[in-house]
């Protein structure tokens, strides 16, 4: 390790470290804007100027010595140099506090500010702005330039979610590099030159939100100034006014860490939090922008009871009374929850079901097998894998973190790898712009074309439902026998040569028969990353939240008289039901036909624990959101138990955590924000699921945006209409044409869709909603055909 002298301190840093990292490691500070630990250092902003010099060697390998002292002679760079792109060498001397360095930094700051509008009071970044802080610390404090500033468009919408203020941009190129280096989609670039330079996407003429991809919001966090701003939180509050809470996102099973910024009881903004082993600093747009439904006027904020056929606002006592009146036997009662509740709530439900001795308990969505029985891959395993086989997953929609970690893996540089002894490097010289991606180590198989196929060396479509066949072919090829499927053969060879392979199984692979698919995937060797259907699917399967023998799973309503459903996954009130209690935050689907509504708190308001798809326990800390009288599942069970005169064993998060502590061997209230793995082996439970399809079927594809999020007009407009994507032969069979507007009945739920013809899909596909099991086939009926207008 080279020894480096920073100002007066001598330190040792790893070979290949940048001078910027050496400066920070030594405990000094230099200003920088363009550098970021996950992006390539390019020296664009020129702020990290230092004086540096290093000794040189003679051709024979000996140091060139100073004649007077006999010590190695230092050869200084002629001026100041940008430390982020300078690699350290043995004996290098870096000076950050000399007059020349200080003057260079302040001078550079002055240049950066020449055209900056200084409208900090109106800027959403104000108070949390790197430029503001650095100008204060390193600037002259006063402008000497008396020219008119450059004027440009201050409200340039890059997408429905991102606004660019061209005047504020300091051309650090973080956002441009982000799109190329992280999700691997080059959608932004510099346009024009010199003082006219601005950032734009070539598509933004005909603007539509989806065009910046599913991970566009991360550039808001990256931007060191207020140039790229979150349009959802635009002007909603100043940075110092927010009540911040670091919690875990529950819109998918990634377990991404997020900051929830609330003000006066409303969620105004969500930002990515740093969790280097999970989401690094990236979250998907759904996780970032999809929060408006939490504060929507339509949210249920108090209990409701049906009186004279109408749902009316009521008190909790009235709700208890309404349930008591039904006078149900516990045996004919079913308890069902969505798979995005916390483990604490799950334990409470499990215990309550045992107390009242009902065997009808389930969570939805889930697969017919627990996913914990395999050797689970972590995100780090995924990033470090030398072969990645993705089967039946559209990770772009299903698991943004897995998608980005695979992209990281293709680059071959894991930023969080603590190769540097002061932690993550700020300027990682291993990262380059337009790095060569090792596409050959990624194989993607899916029944429909998915985004990641364009980055994969091996990719092919398979017929819906033929996962087992594909896995068998890959397994055959791995052991040396080629089959007729060339891509499967290539994947098999890739696996055979790999030391640390990871197999990612997504919803398309698991929805039909997870049990068999998991067994087949196990045979391939290597670690497996099965993606659960629900946000806390991995956690809830460790509890007894599946029907016991003779119990009724979700969707099996025969013989049930009363139903408690937490979540919005029930589309219609089952017939022959005497009592329907729904614990929800939105009046949709069956909630409109319910007898009693209990207001539900959202995942942003809850305190508790979740388990992400790696099996990592992550904490949820409630943000300061005003949910009215809403309660979590434990609170809702309190209502039911009061009505049934049953004793609720678990009456709060604390008592639930005591039970979980025994189960996982961890102190549940002390789980760090970056998460922890259980110290005890946990079992996973499974039960068959009810899926019956008749007649025409449609493939339910996973979508990043949940049904709740789509209730926001902004998101609905950005996402556009739901499409029924069919190939032309299917279209002919169904008698539909491109651009037709249809009303469908998908699995008993009415859906309005527009027809899109795409030859690449082997079966008709439609985005899944809350009520659907993504990846599965569902029966479909065309109810109304409106005709097209194309």
């Amino acid at each position: 390790m080279p020894k480096v002298i920073v100002n007066d301190r001598e330190i040792e840093v790893a070979n290949g470290s940048s001078a910027l990292d050496a400066v920070f490691h030594a405990g000094f500070d230099v200003p920088y804007f363009c550098s970021n630990e996950y992006l390539s250092p390019i020296g664009a902003c020129r702020m990290c100027l230092v004086e540096a010099g290093s000794p040189r060697k003679n051709p024979d390998g000996s140091w060139i010595l100073e004649e007077s002292t006999g010590l190695p002679k230092l050869f200084y760079f002629p001026g100041t140099v940008a430390s982020c792109t300078l690699a350290v060498s043995e004996g290098m001397v870096i000076k950050t506090t000399t007059d020349a360095a200080v003057k260079a930094q302040a001078g550079m700051m002055e240049f950066t500010l020449i055209n900056h509008p200084l409208d900090c009071p109106t800027c959403d970044k104000g108070g949390a702005c790197e430029l503001q802080d650095r100008a204060y610390e390193y600037g002259y404090g006063e402008a000497r330039f008396e020219f008119t500033r450059r004027h440009a468009d201050k409200h340039h919408a890059l997408s429905d979610f991102i606004v660019l203020d061209k005047e504020r941009c300091i051309h650090c190129k973080r956002c441009v590099r982000y799109f190329e280096e992280i999700p691997g989609e080059e959608v932004l670039d510099f346009i024009e030159r010199g003082g006219h330079t601005f950032i734009d996407s070539y598509q933004s003429e005909d603007l539509a939100g989806a065009k910046l991809g599913n991970f566009s919001g991360n550039i808001n966090d990256l931007c060191p100034v207020g140039a790229l701003l979150d349009n959802v939180s635009r002007f909603r509050g100043r940075n110092w006014e927010y009540d911040r809470a670091q919690t875990t996102d529950m819109s998918n099973a990634d377990g991404s860490s997020i900051w929830v910024d609330a003000r006066t009881g409303r969620i105004e903004r969500i930002r990515a939090a740093h969790n280097k082993e999970v989401n690094e600093i990236w979250i998907s747009d759904a996780q970032r922008f999809g929060h408006e439904w939490v504060d929507a006027d339509a949210r249920v904020r108090s209990p409701m009871v049906r009186r004279n056929g109408k749902l009316e606002v009521a008190t909790f006592d009235e709700a208890v009374e309404a349930i008591r009146k039904a006078n149900l036997e516990p045996k004919s009662l079913g308890l069902y929850t969505s798979a995005d509740i916390t483990l604490e709530e799950g334990v409470a439900l499990e215990s309550f079901a045992k107390t009242i001795a009902t065997i009808n308990v389930d969570h939805f969505p889930r697969y017919n097998s627990g996913l914990g029985g395999v050797s689970r891959a972590t995100f780090t395993d995924l990033a470090k894998a030398d072969a990645i086989i993705v089967i039946g997953a559209d990770l772009y929609e299903e698991s943004g973190t897995a998608y980005l970690r695979i992209e990281e893996s293709l680059k071959g540089v894991i930023s969080s790898d603590a190769q540097f002894n002061h932690g993550a490097p700020l300027a990682d010289l291993r990262l380059k712009e337009r790095m060569d991606r090792k596409r050959s180590k990624l194989a993607v198989f899916a029944p429909i074309p998915v985004q990641q196929m364009s980055h994969a060396g091996i990719s092919s479509l398979y017929a819906v439902g033929s996962e087992l066949e594909l896995l068998a072919q890959i397994n055959q090829a791995k052991s040396g026998t080629d089959s007729s499927n060339a891509q499967a053969n290539a994947a098999g060879k890739l696996l055979a040569a790999a030391k640390n392979p990871v197999i990612v199984l997504g919803s398309f692979a698991l929805a039909t028969d997870a049990e068999k698919v998991l067994a087949a995937a196990k045979k391939l060797g290597g670690k497996i990353m099965p993606i659960p259907a629900g946000a806390n699917g991995a956690g809830l399967e460790t509890l007894e939240l599946v029907p016991a023998k003779n119990g009724r799973s979700f969707g099996q309503w025969d013989g049930l008289k009363g139903l408690f459903v937490s979540g919005s996954m029930l589309s219609k009130r089952p017939k022959s039901l005497e009592l329907l209690v729904i614990h929800t935050h939105t009046l949709t689907g069956a909630a409109l036909e319910a007898d009693v509504i209990i207001p539900a708190s959202t995942a942003y308001e809850k305190r508790g624990t979740t388990m992400n798809l790696e099996g990592r326990l992550l904490p949820l800390t409630g943000a300061a959101v005003d949910g009215g009288q809403s309660v979590d599942v434990i609170g809702a069970l309190q209502v039911i138990s009061d009505a049934m005169n049953a004793k609720l064993e678990i009456r709060g998060t604390r008592s639930a955590q005591r039970i979980l502590q025994d189960k996982f061997g961890l102190e549940m209230d002390k789980i760090p924000v970056e998460g922890a793995f259980p110290t005890k082996p946990v079992s996973s439970r499974s039960a068959p699921i009810v899926r019956s399809t008749t007649g025409e079927t449609v493939l339910l594809v996973p979508r990043m945006w949940t049904e709740n999020m789509l209730s926001s007009n902004r998101i609905r407009e950005s996402v556009g209409a739901d499409y029924l994507t069919v190939n032309s032969s299917d279209a002919q069979k169904l008698g539909i044409h491109d651009g037709f507007n249809l009303e469908l009945e998908v699995g008993g739920k009415a859906r309005a869709v527009t027809v899109r013809i795409d030859e690449a899909v082997s079966a008709p596909t439609i985005p899944a909603l809350n009520t659907d099991l993504p990846g599965a086939l569902s029966s479909v009926k065309i109810a109304v055909m409106v005709g097209g207008d194309d």
């Binding site: 409208d119 610390e137 008119t148 468009d153």
Partner: protein, 226 residues
């Protein structure tokens, strides 16, 4: 002590009997306030009628009594409220909390909020002490209870004081009377300047981009942090 001294003293006392009394029988007659008096806030406007407030919430940040609450929104071409990108859609001051220190006025980058001269704020319900934009906008005479009384009696607001207002207040009131008057205290920085302002032909702040930004501090000699 002689008789003379006593007589002198009594003379002074007697002399006062014939002078005009200093006592003001407030509220029957108005009292005289000094120009520096700080009373109920005024939200000012530019000469073109646009609000000066850009909803930046710096007044709320500066307020030692946490009396101010601001919610901002964006100006649109159909609804242009302020000369800038954003305006205050909600601007509330809780007069029970306010200590009339004037920090908000000092923090305001556009000179939008100034402390005015009204001080007769006494009211019955605590929620009536929360003054919104409509209660503080320049041109509104009197406090909430005064205006309520005036409207009940169908009479103009009776203000119980006389004052020669200080320059800021006078200017704000003058701008209201004479909309074409050029206001000298336009923001010096680029603050609140936006295409809207330019479209409105206001040019607020654009013409003087000099001397802007940060508190004048010397560049740090020691780059050492941490």
């Amino acid at each position: 002590m002689g008789v003379l001294e006593i007589a002198k003293g009594m003379g002074t006392t007697l002399g006062k009997l014939f002078q005009k009394p200093l006592t003001v029988s407030y509220p029957e007659s108005p009292i005289r306030l000094q120009p520096r008096f700080r009373g109920r806030h005024i939200l000012t406007k530019h000469a073109n009628g646009l609000e000066k407030c850009i909803g930046c919430s710096l007044c709320a940040a500066a307020c030692p009594a946490y009396a101010i609450y601001v919610e901002a929104a964006e100006n649109t071409s159909s609804n242009t409220v302020s000369a800038g990108e954003r305006y205050a859609s909600v601007y509330e001051i809780n007069m029970l909390r306010c200590i009339f220190c004037g920090m908000c006025e000092e923090a305001c980058p556009t000179g939008a909020i100034i402390l005015g001269t009204d001080f007769e704020l006494a009211d019955y319900k605590s929620r009536d002490f929360v003054y919104g934009k409509e209660d503080m906008m320049v041109g509104v005479v009197g406090t909430k209870p005064q205006r309520r009384e005036a409207s009940a009696k169908n009479k103009p607001v009776k203000v119980g004081y006389n004052i020669t207002p200080r320059a800021e207040v006078a200017e704000a009131l003058e701008a209201l009377k004479n909309p074409s008057a050029r206001i000298s205290s336009l923001p010096a920085s680029g603050v609140g300047t936006h295409s809207v302002a330019r479209d409105a032909g206001d040019g607020a702040g654009r013409s003087s981009p000099s001397r802007v930004g940060f508190a004048p501090i010397a560049p740090q000699k020691e780059g050492v942090k941490r």
